[in-house]
Each structure stands twice: as C-alpha cells, then as structure tokens.
C-alpha cells in the first residue's frame, strides 16, 4: 500500500513539474528560444505573490490573479525590448542574454528580499487532504495537478483551435512567410512569452505555497522543467505532463528508499528515458 501511496504522491508532484515546464515548452516551441531564466522568473513570481499576500493580506489564490496581468506585461516587455533583439540565426545570443537575466533576477531578489528562505501560506488548504480509497492525497497537490491539466488543456486549445494559435504555429514554422501573411513575428513572440508568463505565475503559486523558496532556487527548477520537456518529447504538452510525472514518481520512489536519493532519482530517470527514447516519449512527428 505504501508503494501505491508513494506513486500517487509522485504523480501529483509531476503536475508541479509540468507547470514549471509548460511555459518553457511554449516559448521554445514557438521561437526556438531556450530561456535560461525560466526558473528564476518562476521564483520572481513567487516573491510577487508573497508581496501581495503580505502587503495586501490577499489569499494566495487571489494574489495570483493580481500577479498574472503584471507578469503578462513583464513577459511582453521582456520579449519585445530584450529577447527579440537577441533572436536570430545564431542560437548563442539568446542563451547568453537569458543566462545574464537569470543572474540579474537572482541578485535583484537577494537585494530586495535577502537570501532567507520564504514561504507563502495557503492557510488551512496546506494541511487539508482527501482519502481516495487506500491513498490519502493532499488538497494542494491535487490542486497543483488539476491546474497542470487545465493549463495544458487551455494551451492546447489556444494552439490548435484559435487564430492566435494558428499564427503561433505559422510563425514557428516559417517566420518570413508568416510576415507575408501579415503577421508580425516580433509581436507573436511577445504574446507567446506573455502567455508563458501567465503559466509561470501559476507555477509560482504552487512553488511558493508548497515548499520554501529563496532567490537561488530558480536554476534547479529550470533543470526539472527541461527534463520534463525532453522526457515528454519536444512539442507535446501532454508529453511534458508525462515527463513531469516520470520525474515526480522517480523522486518520490527514490526518497522512499533513501531520503537522500530523491533528487538523484529524478535525474537518473531522465537519463534512462533519454537512453531508451532519445527523442522523448511522445515526439511530434517529423
């Protein structure tokens, strides 16, 4: 029974990793931009929520709604003013720029909030749980997983069922020809990053409420996100969820055997998947 319980916890943890990864996957899919500051942006979002909770006394779930428009604008401006200038044939400039951005965010957070670890309190929700037959699941992990599914459903709908999504896909295929169709790639990219920041804000909510965070933990979240995207196969958001679940389950199983193995087990699972299926579990054809 303990194993079933462990696996369920791992699956639910996978929802958190999928939330870390979905924004990264969206941006990479549309503009082939690997945003090395992605993890730090999530942490930045957590601090913003913390600020709203402590300064305005908002519940974290209300704070996230306030934080979303701000993060959307931040994403739009970041892409429009900085990242678009770095995009081009050469993949190195965006890597350097986002690496620099990662350091800037970490230092700015440390200056403003100190290096102490923080936590956003979700009140009674934190300890609430429900019994599902033999296993007991926390309400917060269930909400996280549910949010991940909703985010993926929403992104898939946006991507495959709307005019914006059509423009995203066309621009991702061929930005020059998209321009001939009246599309402005720079605006499409700005909108994509802005939308990715909405997902980042949701991820930030759960990062901030489910564990301690401090300004330096961004890069490790980036790694989990990367691993989830790559395990799932580039271009598939459901694959990304599956990737998150693989890492989550590996981590909880690892931790059940030996608490020190938690993080390591996730990385080992990633390497094993990569060895067996180099293109991930659900690669997009061709």
């Amino acid at each position: 029974m303990i194993w079933i319980d462990t696996i369920v916890q791992g699956i639910l943890l996978g929802g958190l990793y999928a939330l870390f990864a979905a924004g990264l996957s969206l941006v990479f899919g549309i503009m082939r931009l690997v945003n090395l500051a992605h993890g730090d942006l999530i942490v930045l979002g957590s601090y913003l929520i913390l600020l709203l909770v402590s300064a305005l006394g908002l519940h974290p779930f209300a704070a996230v709604l306030v934080a979303m428009p701000a993060m959307f604008l931040l994403g739009w401006s970041l892409q429009k003013l900085v990242l678009n200038r770095a995009l081009g044939e050469d993949i190195l400039p965006p890597l350097l720029v986002t690496f620099g951005l990662s350091i800037v965010i970490q230092n700015a957070l440390q200056e403003s909030f100190s290096a102490d670890s923080q936590r956003v309190s979700a009140g009674a929700l934190e300890t609430a749980s429900v019994s599902l037959g033999p296993v007991t699941a926390g309400v917060m992990p269930l909400l996280t997983f549910g949010s991940a599914i909703l985010v993926i459903l929403a992104l898939n709908h946006l991507f495959y069922r709307t005019a914006i999504g059509r423009a995203f896909r066309a621009t991702s295929d061929d930005a020059v020809t998209a321009g001939l169709m009246g599309i402005r790639p720079d605006r499409v990219f700005a909108l994509a990053t802005a939308i990715a920041m909405l997902v980042v804000t949701i991820a930030a909510l759960y990062l901030g409420t489910r564990s301690n965070f401090d300004p330096s933990i961004g890069p490790a979240r980036l790694i989990y996100a990367f691993e989830a995207v790559i395990i799932g196969g580039l271009g598939s958001l459901w694959g990304t969820l599956a990737g998150g679940v693989v890492i989550g389950v590996a981590q909880t199983l690892g931790a059940a055997i030996n608490p020190e193995w938690q993080i390591l087990a996730g990385h080992v699972a990633f390497l094993i998947v990569l060895l067996i299926r180099p293109r991930g579990l659900f690669p997009r054809e061709a």
Binding site: R166, A167, A170, D174, G179, L180, M181, G182
Partner: protein, 264 residues
C-alpha cells in the same frame, strides 16, 4: 498614376548585390511577366517588392507612396500578396488553416470580406463561374471561392498542407495569397517542378484571378508560358532588366540575347 513601380531598385544580401537599378512598373489590371535565367535576380525582386528585403523608401512606389522600407506585414496589408518561390506552406497547418491564415491578418478588411461572402451566399452566387461577376475584387476571395477555384483542396482540407502533391501545394499557396483579396498578386515560379498538365490547370486559374480584380506579376522560367499570359514582359539578367515590352513586340532573338547575354 502608376500602380506599382520600382525606381533604380537595388537589393543586397550582406555584401552581395543582387539587383542593380531595376525599373519596372505594373498598371491596374495588367499581368506582367518577369523572365530570366537562374540567379538573374527574379526572386530578389519579388522579395524587395514584398518587404522581405528592405530597400530605400523611394525605390518602390505603390499608388505614388514610397513603400521600399516597409516590412512584409505592412506591405501585405496594402494589398500586395505573394505566392513565394517553393510554395512555403506551413507544415503545422492543415490545408484549410493555411488558407485561413492568408486572410486572417488583413485587419480592417475582415468585416468587408465576411459581408461579401454572406452576400454571395444570400444571392446564391458563390459558384466557380461567378468569378467574373465580382470584378471590383474587394472581398471576393473566401474559403468557398478558393475551394470553388481548386475543388481538390476542399477534399483535402483537413490534411497537413505539406502532405499534398506538388501541384496541390501550389494551389494552396495561391489560395492562401488570394485569401487576403490582394490588389496585386506576385507569383514566383508557380510552375516550377510540376507536370505539364498540372501547370496547365494552375495557369487556367490566372484569368479567373485577374477577373476578381487582381493585377499580377508572374515570375516564370518557361518563356512561352510567360509570353502567353502576360500583357508585358521584363527579362532579367545578372540583377538588371535587359529587355521589356509587349509579347507581340519582342522577337525570339531579342529574348535570347536578353536572357543569356550577347555572347551566347
């Protein structure tokens, strides 16, 4: 008033100069053909006209306005659409999505387009034979009229655009450009790599496209095809215009010299 005109147009790829002072013009309702050997600069000319290659503002005039410096999306919104060399369909989009995206960003024209298609449906006049009835051209092209022009696309509308045959892909590329209801349609080698019967089918669409109100510039390597469809012809060699005139006015020898150079 000249509709579309280049004045001393130059084009560069980095240090490489592809066009050296090209002067062409297009009048409303005309079909102009650009011929020339591989590397003559035909595609570079099309890329300049559509803003993919940036130029000095005054090198391209559209309705007397300087547009040489405008980006592709702005040029397109002025009513200049292109069927690019090599078709360049979007692989992630179905046939229908490829068509829709051609018209989706026209901006203010959308409402007019819709009203036009409602009217066409109300009056029951959306058959293929009614192209000629819509000479004013504003808003004639919709999914329905494009499918009427190329019925095979309707059957394949949910398949990825790149899963079609070369000729069908070319039809999608043409339909995609038409969906913005352009006043000027640029076609870069629409017959390249296609079988003669398919070329015939595709060229059969050009008169209907003209009747919908578009003026055409067609780039063509097949000289006799170009002479057949064009009101006027320009021949290019090494980034320059080496000959221009009406098909009836220019001789085979003139073309040969303009195409291959005097030494040939």
């Amino acid at each position: 008033m000249t509709f579309l005109e280049t004045q001393g147009l130059t084009a560069h790829y980095g240090d490489f100069q592809a066009l050296f002072g090209v002067d062409i013009r297009l009048e409303p309702g005309e079909t102009v053909a650009i011929i020339g050997a591989n590397g003559a600069g035909k595609t570079s000319l099309m890329r300049s006209l559509t803003g993919v290659l940036q130029n000095a503002p005054g090198q391209i005039l559209h309705k007397q306005e300087k547009i040489g410096h405008l980006p592709p999306d702005t040029v397109m919104k002025r009513g200049i659409a292109m069927v690019p060399e090599g078709r360049r369909l979007f692989p992630s989009l179905t046939v229908e999505e490829n068509l829709i995206i051609g018209g989706q960003h026209k901006g203010g024209a959308d409402l007019g387009d819709r009203i036009g298609s409602w009217l066409a449906r109300l009056t029951g006049s959306s058959g293929p034979m009614d192209v000629a009835a819509c000479r004013d051209g504003s808003g004639y092209w919709t999914l329905d009229t494009v499918y009427a022009l190329f019925p095979v696309l309707h059957e394949r509308r949910h398949t990825p655009g790149t899963a079609l045959s070369g000729g069908q892909q070319q039809m999608v590329a043409i339909g995609r450009a038409l969906m913005s209801n352009p006043e000027i349609l640029l076609c870069d080698e629409i017959s390249l790599g296609l079988a003669p019967v398919v070329i015939r089918d595709i060229y059969a669409a050009l008169p209907l496209i003209k009747d919908s109100g578009a003026s055409l510039i067609v780039v063509e390597q097949d000289i006799s095809q170009a002479l057949r469809v064009a009101d006027r012809v320009y021949c290019m060699m090494e980034g320059r215009i080496t000959l221009s005139g009406r098909p009836s006015e220019i001789s085979r020898e003139d073309i040969h010299t303009a195409y291959f150079g005097a030494a040939a």
